[in-house]
Symmetry: C2
Subunit: 298 residues, 2 copies
């Protein structure tokens, strides 16, 4: 199954036979008070610079959500408009209300990925007609009005509901991406395994693409970087073709490339070699700058 998304530039194809897609996670104001305050004041300069920085670091899509309080997505749709002037990659947009959905889709150029839906039927039946109308794609989280199922099979049942409703509203399987739900491993020792098994079940039984926020897993634990990198590699091994994560973290960026190569998506290790050459180039430039500084100071 392929999910094809667009911004104002080249389309991005997500699927098991395509290169892994990193969706930059940094434009999330609910986790970044400074960004939230700026967005609330109508200042989207950091949205643009942080968006661009993530694309330069290898993000092939960007995730963006509204600042707290922007229920109707007024600020969010302004941010999306500004961001699409700065970058041409497709966006994954978290929406929290039907108004926000309408407002965002009215301004978005291309085919976006709408995030924020669950297996709640009334939610699906309200949102999916709008999504289908605009020719968008969406992410459905494998949880519903009864909470997050503990077992992978329970999450698969929710996944079935999401896909069924999507088809009923005229969307295709490629327009649906499923989020297996990632909780912090500190909460219960089974949560990592549950996510990994859910991905494999969805892939085997529904064939629909999956995606998740890959850094929640490590909340509350030390050495999050190593945890996030290891979990990302494991998600990719299960067949997950995209993740919302931080490409500005070198370990994450390089792990995604490495794991993708092991999945057979890097012919002649070309992307790996280029990425590492680039690392060497950056290090060489850092040393040059350091040397220049020393000379100026002496």
């Amino acid at each position: 199954m392929q999910t094809v998304l667009t911004g104002t530039g080249e389309p991005v194809t997500i699927g098991p036979s395509h290169a892994f897609v990193v969706i930059g996670e940094r434009l999330n104001p609910s986790l970044r008070p400074a960004l939230a305050a700026e967005m609330a004041a109508g200042d989207f300069s950091r949205v643009n610079t942080d968006g661009l920085a993530q694309v330069e670091a290898g993000a092939r899509m960007l995730d963006i959500s509204a600042p707290p309080g922007d229920e109707k997505g007024v600020l969010l749709s302004q941010a999306v408009q500004t961001l699409q002037q700065a970058v041409d990659v497709p966006l994954c947009i978290s929406i929290t209300s039907l108004d926000a959905l309408h407002n965002v889709l009215a301004v978005y150029e291309g085919k976006p990925l709408v995030n924020g839906l669950t297996g709640d039927r009334s939610l699906l039946d309200a949102f999916l007609p709008v999504i289908a109308d605009h020719g968008a794609a969406f992410v459905g989280m494998c949880t519903d009005e009864n909470g997050i199922p503990e077992e992978p099979t329970g999450r698969l049942s929710v996944a079935h509901v999401i896909v069924d409703r999507a088809i009923a509203h005229g969307l295709s399987g490629g327009d649906v991406m499923l989020d297996p739900v990632v909780m912090p491993i500190g909460a219960r020792r089974s949560v990592g395994h549950t996510t990994l098994d859910t991905i494999r079940l969805i892939r085997g039984e529904l064939g629909v693409n999956t995606l998740c926020g890959a850094t929640n897993i490590s909340i509350g634990l030390p050495n999050r970087r190593t945890l996030n990198a290891a979990f990302l590699a494991m998600l990719i091994a299960q067949g997950m073709p995209a993740a919302i994560t931080n490409p500005l973290d070198d370990t994450i960026r390089m792990t995604a490339l490495a794991a993708d190569m092991f999945m057979g998506h890097d012919e002649n290790s070309e992307r790996w070699l280029i990425a590492n050459r680039r690392g060497a180039d950056l290090e060489a430039r850092r040393l040059e700058r350091q040397e220049a500084r020393r000379k100026r100071q002496s």
Copy 2:
């Protein structure tokens, strides 16, 4: 399925519901000329210190092989005897001849893991009676006299032959571990995926434990540490319960712990927390030493 191995200390159990087992890879003289020269001269001091260092870094077993030229395993069996004085963990011993097998098993204390067999029937029928006689376990590599099968299903066929012969010679499924074969990813872009798929097939169809040398994958490429860590996490995600790798590499050591936690084997993240506290302790001691040095020099 459980594989239980012993040295002179506590037994080590390998299996899907047990903590991941790192088998220290450093006692491999064919990759370490200095070690090979010392072993050839009957000097096993480095075998002991390097063995101990790996156990202290978390290796729960040690891999050891003969120096080049030691076809009959005379030096190898001496090294094994000396090493078993220094460490009490079970050993994984690579043998290259029937003489070596006899010599090593004659001196080994406990139940070792014999490495070096393939799916070659005449090899299996010559070695397995000796292994069964001594109550040892063994690793069978999924390759045979016709070479390494390109497809996972071909490797699974070899795996079937290995397990069938083992049962015929009176061994149990738990006494067999299968190596899916890891080749350098530089050789062909499918080799990572092939290994990962083979592990899953073996686990699903035979239920026998797997193991591999997890650092071959990156031979010839830059930034091997990141590649090895990512691949190790992916192998663990496929259900591989043990690997021959380098616990002295911090990235490898921490990745194994992280991935094992995500597989549900680290109750309350205890081992992760202890390992990271230990890292912090080491860092604190390093800073203390640095400070002391500064004071001495000033």
